[in-house]
């Protein structure tokens, strides 16, 4: 099945409204017309504005902060320093690990990275705050910094035992293998670069805090704010109706949030703080820089006998970020012997964070490049070698795949791409000065499952309302939940209003790890089913109902009208029925929690990631899969790489809305093209600072860099993965794009580039 995104088609018709239909984004018109109000666009009475002062050294101590000039500047209301800001409590991490019993100060005295928040100025206007922030004079006692992984002072790092995966005797099997390859692969610091920068408005009313902030996780962030300020969880309200892109960066409450909320409390006025674009590169973490060594021992037939994998990622001096580099390495191919270990290295950087497919993304760059190298070593087609080493079950968990349509993905993608016409020799395909290369790589992402709850109301006018504290950052939650409620209750999706992005609504876990759609369609389906049951129950049993005398045991609701299954007897609209029985609404809550869950379980489920179900829980190993086929054109004189064709076949299980899934897949592929060719935080090693901290110098792809992208869905419903059969969509498609491009570049040029991004000087 080919699922091109067509424009102006009729796919928004009746069929589109059900689950699986190609309904256009219901939030689209509000966004296009500017009616959609984002978190920091709220107009509040008495709003004051904060601006941050950041460290200009990477390591050392703040000696003195001179605020005299700033305090005297026009409009300034307060200048916050580590000495003047109120003391907060430490908050638990996202696993819910109880915090150390010590105060937390979001403004630093001890500097561990360049760009760390050291002070903040609050003023009557944004301009006054920015101008006064420039007048804050900070002096430092500087100490030598550890710049990055290649710094001589960085060392080998700290082993992360939990990442170790081993079976068989990998080193011995490698040593005796007839064919051996070994190479190191590096990925640089990369940044989420969402269109909407981070920021918030914080307002206190007594001991109640409201925070308008773009958020991938309202309940988790509300918990952090509550813990910082020692408040009951219920006293914090997070509001985040729309999110202008997050890509993993907006899931946690961060230090700038603590600063703004503290300022608002101290001042007794609402405070708005929005990060500048440069601050979005230093104020929180992008993807950690990684280094991997992949060694593969194989037979002359290309069959893998051993994989030995060693990975390292950067973390900060006092924070811990583990980018699981063995995640794809350990499951993509069958091998009798395997060893993967990982270290983290402390460097003077902000603690890295989640960015689209953390772990799987760099992991795939290693193994999917290495298997291409092996293919050339043994002289076997890169697609064929993948099939020869196909893992029929999860080689690590030793469990059956819930579903794995990867073979189908290879077949469908290869067919559509025309892979059979590829000539294997590097530099064997060209068009004038353009060397043409075709590369393939696979990708995967685990199915993360968690819990959610929702309220579904059937209102007096027959419309349906859904409420959930989950969010829509462009991936389509508003739309698919409308489709789910519409289909379940039996009304058109146009008659469903979905309300998201307010922590007062029924709770939801993090929107990350591609789990939300599976979780929330399940919760809404459940709530909508019980609302429907109530409606039908009323229709049958209420003496005022026109159906009362029928003595039916069930009724059906379709297109907003209720009647008997066989179509005989009366038929009325939902509104008419509710009116006749004297009800102004019906309401049901549904959740996906285990039946005997306590209030404490619920709290943990929605505010931490500790309770998420492992993807290998029970008898199955659950993952999404994909295969990318990519053509590049490399100019033989200039070394410039242009992606000229992409065909990707993807298995995300059942698609709740193919139009939205395709859009997410394409977005992932585009981000992968950026990762492969353009994106890199460029470090001034003397200052330990990223110098391309803006969107003119940190290059993300433009339209001109993106060819037609064809995506093919090869998924089948996977009921082990979610209630309605879907698997993860959002992160899958970026995984494997960079190695497919690197492999295509090798095919085009004969040069194997193992350090991303593949910029022109690496090829001339």
């Amino acid at each position: 099945m080919t699922v091109h995104t067509r424009h102006g088609d009729a796919s928004d018709g009746a069929l589109a409204q059900a689950v699986g239909g190609r309904l256009s984004r219901v939030d689209g018109p509000a966004k296009i017309t500017g009616a959609a109000k984002y978190a920091v666009e709220q107009q509040l009475e008495g709003l004051a504005y904060a601006a941050l002062v950041e460290s200009t050294i990477a390591s050392g101590k703040v000696r003195v902060i001179d605020t005299t000039q700033a305090e005297a500047a026009p409009g300034v209301l307060q200048v916050l320093t580590p000495d003047t800001i109120i003391s907060l409590r430490s908050a638990s991490d996202w696993f819910g690990t109880p915090p150390p019993d010590k105060p937390y100060c979001p403004l630093a005295r001890d500097i561990t990275f360049s760009g760390q928040h050291v002070a903040a100025v609050v003023a009557e206007t944004f301009e006054q705050a920015v101008a006064a922030a420039a007048l804050v004079k900070v002096s430092y006692d500087e100490t030598p910094s550890i710049v990055d992984l290649s710094d001589a002072k960085a060392g080998d790092g700290i082993p992360v035992d939990a990442m170790t995966k081993e079976w068989g005797d990998a080193p011995a099997a490698f040593a005796s293998a007839p064919v051996r390859i070994c190479a190191a692969y590096n990925t640089p610091r990369e940044y989420q670069a969402p269109m909407e920068p981070h920021g918030l408005i914080a307002r206190w009313e007594g001991d109640h805090l409201t925070v308008w902030e773009p958020s991938q996780w309202l309940d988790g962030m509300a918990r952090t704010y509550a813990e910082w300020f020692g408040l009951p969880f219920e006293n914090v309200r997070l509001v985040s109706p729309y999110i202008g892109g997050g890509f993993g960066s907006k899931a946690l409450a961060l230090s700038h949030g603590a600063i703004a909320a503290s300022a608002a409390k101290m001042l007794g006025r609402p405070v708005k703080l929005v990060m500048t674009r440069p601050q979005t590169f230093t104020g929180y973490g992008g993807r950690a820089a990684t280094r991997q060594t992949v060694t593969i021992g194989a037979g002359h037939d290309g069959v893998i006998q051993s994989i030995v994998h060693r990975g390292v990622n950067e973390t900060s001096i006092d924070g811990m970020w583990v980018e699981p580099l063995g995640s794809v390495t350990s499951i993509m191919y069958a091998t009798p012997n395997f060893s993967s270990k990982q270290n983290v290295v402390r460097v003077n950087s902000v603690v890295p964070g989640a960015m689209r497919a953390p772990g799987e993304n760099p992991s795939a760059f290693g193994i999917e490049s290495a298997i291409d190298e092996l293919a050339y070593q043994v002289g076997i087609d890169p697609l064929e070698i993948r099939l020869r080493n196909y893992a029929e079950q999860d080689p690590h968990a030793r469990k059956a795949w819930s579903t794995r349509q990867l073979r189908e993905a290879f077949a469908a993608g290869a067919e559509r791409f025309g892979w059979a016409r590829r000539t294997p020799e590097p530099r064997s395909m060209r068009d004038g000065n353009q060397l043409i290369g075709w590369g393939v790589a696979a990708g995967t992402y685990p199915v993360r499952r968690a819990y959610g709850e929702a309220i579904v109301r059937i209102l007096a006018d027959g419309s349906v309302e859904v409420e959930s504290s989950s969010i829509d950052m462009g991936q389509g939650t508003y739309t698919i939940l409308a489709q789910t409620a519409a289909e379940t209750v039996g009304v058109p999706a146009d008659d469903v209003v979905v309300k998201l992005g307010d922590s007062r609504f029924p709770r939801a876990g993090v929107t990350g790890g591609s789990r939300l759609a599976g979780v929330m369609t399940g919760a809404v389906h459940k709530a909508a089913t019980s609302a429907l049951d109530q409606l039908i129950g009323l229709a049958i049993s209420d003496p005022r109902s026109p159906f009362h005398t029928l003595q039916a045991n069930t009724l059906v609701v379709s297109n907003g009208r209720i009647g008997s299954p066989r179509g005989d007897g009366p038929e009325v609209s939902i509104a008419e029925l509710l009116k006749s029985v004297g009800r102004d609404h019906i309401e049901a809550t549904g959740d996906t929690m285990p039946a005997n869950s306590t209030a404490e379980d619920r709290y943990k489920n929605y505010t931490t990631i500790a309770m998420a179900l492992p993807h290998t829980e029970g008898n199955y190993s659950r993952h999404s899969w994909c295969a990318h086929f990519i053509e590049v054109r490399v100019d033989e004189d200039f070394g410039t790489v242009r992606v000229s064709r992409v065909v990707s076949a993807l298995d995300s299980g059942r698609l709740y809305n193919p139009k939205l899934a395709e859009s997410q897949w394409k977005g992932g592929i585009i981000m992968g093209i950026g990762q492969a060719l353009l994106e890199e935080g460029v470090m001034d090693r003397r200052h330990g600072r990223i110098v391309n901290d803006n969107l003119a110098d940190y290059l993300v792809p433009t339209n001109a860099d993106i060819p037609d992208i064809e995506v093919i869905s090869v998924g089948i419903p996977d009921l082990h993965s979610s209630a309605l059969g879907g698997k993860g969509v959002g992160e899958l498609a970026i995984v494997g794009v960079a190695p497919a491009i690197a492999n295509a570049v090798f095919h085009a040029t004969g040069k194997r580039v193992r350090d991303l991004p593949i910029t022109l000087e690496k090829l001339i």
Binding site: A134, N433, T640, T702
Partner: protein
């Protein structure tokens, strides 16, 4: 807060007078100036908005050449039929610059006055040392991130690359810039950094660019602008070349050749050595490639920008050969 006054100039003379005052700056499209003000690099006391001045946005093209008003927008000039047919390199340099939105705002006068993209120049709070910004303060780039810095025309004081595209084409075709009555070659308008990198243009306080004039020539008519960069659009040049060529009647022997480089030098860089080596010769690939190497004579790299020395001659050669193909 830094207040500044905004003044809408009613005549060119009024604009000149206002802009002559200390702290005053002309404001055209604002795409450089507002950006630099936000970075903390420019801090004007008075902005003299010249965009409402009449008659300064004309584009006139005839056999003798083209005269482009200082307020003509980049997008208009790029799209102008006469410019496209008589000065293709100028049109190509313009439409490959910046983004569509910027080109719609930005003016030709402002374009000639754009500043370097050296990241150290643009970040005063983190990098106080910059001779271009603060004479005598030092150069943060030397020894730092230099991938985008100049390999030609640099000095010990500053190695910042001139980032623009249009001026490269203008230099190739001996264009002059009009500062009211005073006229000078665009090549002379741009200064090498030497010991005074803060002074980039031969323009005095109270002077205003009113127009750019490009003499018509056969070489300008057969010309192209080739811009190479990692990103296909919306990026400054890693290396670029404006090239024009005129053949003898035999259609093979080079009578006139113009070559200028962008993305590699501290100013738009005319490569006369390449021109001289090929004039009078028959266009032939190996000779073109050999001569193109002369484009980077005297180049000095700072590590990460070494690739520019390899890349620039290839760009020049490709551009010349491409023009030769269309004989």
């Amino acid at each position: 807060m830094r207040d500044f006054s905004y003044l809408r100039a009613t005549s060119a003379d009024a604009a000149r007078q206002a802009a002559a005052l200390p702290g005053a700056m002309l404001l055209a499209g604002g795409t450089t100036l507002i950006d630099l003000a936000k970075c903390g690099v420019a801090a004007p006391d008075t902005l003299v908005d010249i965009t409402h001045l009449k008659g300064l946005d004309k584009i006139e093209v005839n056999e003798r050449g083209a005269t482009i008003g200082a307020l003509a927008r980049m997008s208009h000039v790029a799209d102008h039929a006469g410019i496209k047919s008589r000065f293709p390199a100028v049109s190509e340099a313009l439409w490959q610059a910046a983004s569509a939105q910027l080109r719609n705002m930005a003016t030709i006068g402002g374009n000639l006055m754009q500043r370097t993209r050296c990241p150290y120049f643009r970040d005063p709070s983190n990098f106080p040392a910059c001779n271009k910004r603060e004479p005598g303060s030092g150069c943060s780039a030397i020894g730092g991130v230099t991938r985008g810095h100049a390999v030609l025309g640099a000095s010990d004081a500053c190695i910042a690359m001139y980032p623009g595209d249009l001026a490269v084409a203008l230099v190739a075709f001996d264009a002059t810039v009009h500062l009211g009555e005073r006229k000078l070659l665009v090549d002379d308008f741009f200064l090498r950094p030497g010991a005074t990198p803060d002074r980039e243009h031969a323009i005095e306080p109270g002077e205003m660019i009113t127009a750019v004039e490009i003499p018509g020539s056969a070489a300008a008519r057969r010309s192209t602008y080739l811009k190479i960069r990692d990103r296909q659009s919306y990026e400054f040049a890693a290396a670029s070349a404006a090239v024009g060529i005129e053949f003898e009647a035999d259609g093979r022997t080079i009578r006139d050749l113009r070559v200028a480089l962008g993305g590699v030098a501290t100013k738009p860089w005319r490569a006369r050595a390449v021109e001289d080596a090929l004039k009078g010769k028959v266009l032939e690939p190996d000779a073109v490639r050999a001569a193109s190497r002369l484009a980077v004579e005297g180049a000095v790299d700072h590590g990460a920008n070494h690739y520019k020395i390899e890349l620039a001659p290839r760009v020049v050669a490709r551009a010349i050969l491409k023009l030769g193909e269309t004989v």
